[in-house]
Symmetry: C2
Subunit: 198 residues, 2 copies
């Protein structure tokens, strides 16, 4: 009867370990330990490491990609949309420090799996791009440059945290966290400013 409990414990543990170490770096034993159970039970619930990993990746990816919809919401001004998007995106990553690198690394490891991921979110990249073009009043090329700039500025500082906190703050993670918090405001300014002056 503790079915849901155990399944949830496994999923929590797997998310933690997979995100930290990636598919290959993570070991079933470690996930079992983290969940407070043994390896056999992992297989009982999820048959194989591959299947367990798939489940986690899908969950994690689905949490981030759909946020692009914020940028299509025509009821808000462009300024507002950018501010909200940046803030929400960065907040998710503050709460899941390993998320960005996990996604990037695993997509590189197995790019072919991406297609199913997209369809499982119910969002088509092409449609989202067109929606942004129309609602931001930009050409499609401008949208692409704009989008990549914004994602770069939001995501990279988290992906590179272990490196940058060392370079910029001599390894003081707390100081680097403040720096990131500050960026929630400065990044939208930076982006919107560049839209005006081009």
């Amino acid at each position: 009867m503790t079915e849901k409990q155990t399944e949830q414990k496994i999923l929590d543990a797997a998310r933690e370990i997979f995100m930290r170490k990636g598919m290959h770096g993570a070991k079933m034993q470690e996930i079992a330990d983290e969940a407070g159970i043994n390896k056999a039970l992992l297989h009982y619930y999820f048959r194989s490491k591959d299947k367990l990993f798939d489940r986690i990746f899908q969950e994690v990816f689905g949490q981030l990609f759909p946020k692009l919809q914020i940028l299509v919401d025509a009821t808000k001004s462009i300024e507002e949309r950018v501010q909200i998007f940046v803030k929400e995106y960065m907040t998710v990553m503050q709460q899941n420090p390993f998320l960005p690198l996990f996604i990037l690394h695993e997509i590189q490891r197995d790019p072919d799996s991406l297609h199913e991921r997209f369809t499982s979110t119910g969002l088509q990249p092409e449609i989202v791009m067109q929606g942004m073009s129309a609602s931001l009043d930009m050409t499609v090329d401008e949208v692409k440059m704009f989008l990549v700039n914004m994602l770069s500025l939001c995501i990279f500082p988290f992906a590179a945290k272990p490196l940058l906190s060392r370079i910029l703050y001599a390894g003081d993670d707390k100081a680097y966290d403040s720096f990131l918090e500050e960026r929630k405001l400065s990044v939208p300014e930076f982006i919107l400013n560049s839209l005006k002056n081009q």
Copy 2:
């Protein structure tokens, strides 16, 4: 007498495989195959996977970090320095598509090893930061924001290539490569523009 030849073949193969798959994803067998030798010889030259990996990582990291020096070169204008830095940085990554994610992932896997990496390049992060502050005529805080913005805009589009080429160009890698080429010019504009209008 083929000593140097073989060692070099191993290093080339190891760089290739490690960069593509990371420490855990790479297998000694695969590296041996790529080098056209057998596993035993790998161990003869480098004793263990760990030691071989260390050697590669040090090499690769040492190739990128010192480029920050470009930004300290006071004989050039700020505009020039940014243009040169962005172009050189992005060119290195065009030639080594797996480089950015490799470095970010492995630093996260073992952040403690970073200290030796820095010292082995002979560059101290603190000194570089101060040099930039003086020669760019910014406060240290401004330098940090500026530097992270620039690195984000240069590196992330490469790290996320498999994802972004799918979102932006329906998986057409050639089209995405053109997009990246275009950014060698647009990124410096973007950055310099924001410095003026703040």
